[in-house]
Symmetry: C2
Subunit: 196 residues, 2 copies
DNA sequence: TGATCCATGTAAGCCGTTACATGATTGG
DNA sequence: CCAATCATGTAACGGCTTACATGGATCA
């Protein structure tokens, strides 16, 4: 029988567990950094239940490690069926990537917004992009792979991310000023020192 | 008193109504095409209630047009307060753009996936990107703006989109093959004609 | 001493989608 | 004649976030 489709968070858990065993806490952390940021960023409220469901359906196993002092941790490990389920799931057509940009909405309203607002939005965006690119570099530097092929694939995905984020950043660096010029307040370069 | 933050769909409605009056049906359509695709794509189930709430809070007005044959349409128009609320909302820091890519997850698992799957994913992605870029061109060509500034801002946002999507597409065109080479099945260019 | 890290989990709620219900008109 | 377009809306459901509950250890 064909497996029913897995929820995004479930897929994330299996993907992270594919190479190493992890606790829910660790999965959450890893979902924010490195290569998994591009998928979903999940919170505890979705990860823990997902892990419990996975364990019940036999796609992962649990081992409870009692620790002195610290709360005991539940270490999850993927099973053969889990690996199969993930591969099966990833073999489905991935569907379109999703890009949601409030910044782009703001930018198209630049003529109706104060200059300061537009400037701030662009600066924030530039800073965010630079940070994300740095995070990719860092993730690549410290990533450990199971095999050479895996490592290559990881590098590929990282290069993809770097490339595309770089394009965003370049555009802002090159054309940011022209958007600011469209903002309320006009083309003039000097700020009229408006009171707050 | 400070206005409570508006939900994304609400912002979308106000943004679309900013220049023209529209029905819920038309708003839905416009949310899919042109410049609003980058924000949210909302379904009737969220648009109609949002519009009703907006009307109740006085940010838009409704006018019911009874039509012969067709069901009567409710035409919404933004009010001065609505405009102010939108501007106020857009003046808040926009927060980070969101990029969610299942494709990137698939790509990082390329060594564990059949060659065909990886090829198909890349082709699908390329086709999707080309389509989106074409949609931007089309939207720019037929867009009507209230003023010159508005038109410039719209063009700016379109150029941003074109630029970034173009970067994705270029990367796939240039490096797609190297990912395929990492897939299960090896580096060899000829397919061994495996049975389905 | 107070924040942060480790570590798990639940409950309520939000925001949105999908599917349903209805129905005339126009175009292929 | 069938599909798509126009046109509005509701109800159920889903999936994820936020906030809550708990608590020792470590670091500044």
């Amino acid at each position: 029988m064909p497996r029913e489709p897995l929820s995004p968070v479930t897929v994330l858990c299996l993907a992270i567990l594919f190479n190493d065993e992890r606790t829910g806490y660790e999965i959450r952390k890893q979902s924010l950094e490195g290569r998994h940021r591009w998928f979903v960023d999940a919170s505890y409220g979705s990860i823990y239940p997902a892990l419990a469901r996975l364990a019940q359906s036999g796609l992962v196993t649990v081992r409870e490690e009692v620790q002195s002092g610290r709360p005991s941790r539940k270490v999850y490990a993927i099973t053969t069926e889990g690996r199969a389920a993930l591969i099966e799931e990833l073999s489905e057509p991935p569907g379109p990537d999703i890009f949601r940009s409030r910044f782009l909405l703001v930018s198209s309203f630049a003529p109706h917004l104060p200059r300061r607002t537009v400037e701030a939005a662009i600066e924030e965006r530039k800073a965010g992009l630079a940070e994300e690119i740095a995070a990719i570099e860092a993730a690549v530097a410290e990533s450990e792979c199971a095999g050479e092929r895996d490592c290559d694939a990881l590098s590929w995905a990282a290069a993809y991310g770097r490339n595309c984020l770089g394009a965003h950043l370049d555009f802002l660096k090159t054309h940011g000023d022209s958007l600011i010029a469209m903002a309320e307040g006009g083309t003039d370069a000097s700020l009229p020192k408006a009171a707050e």
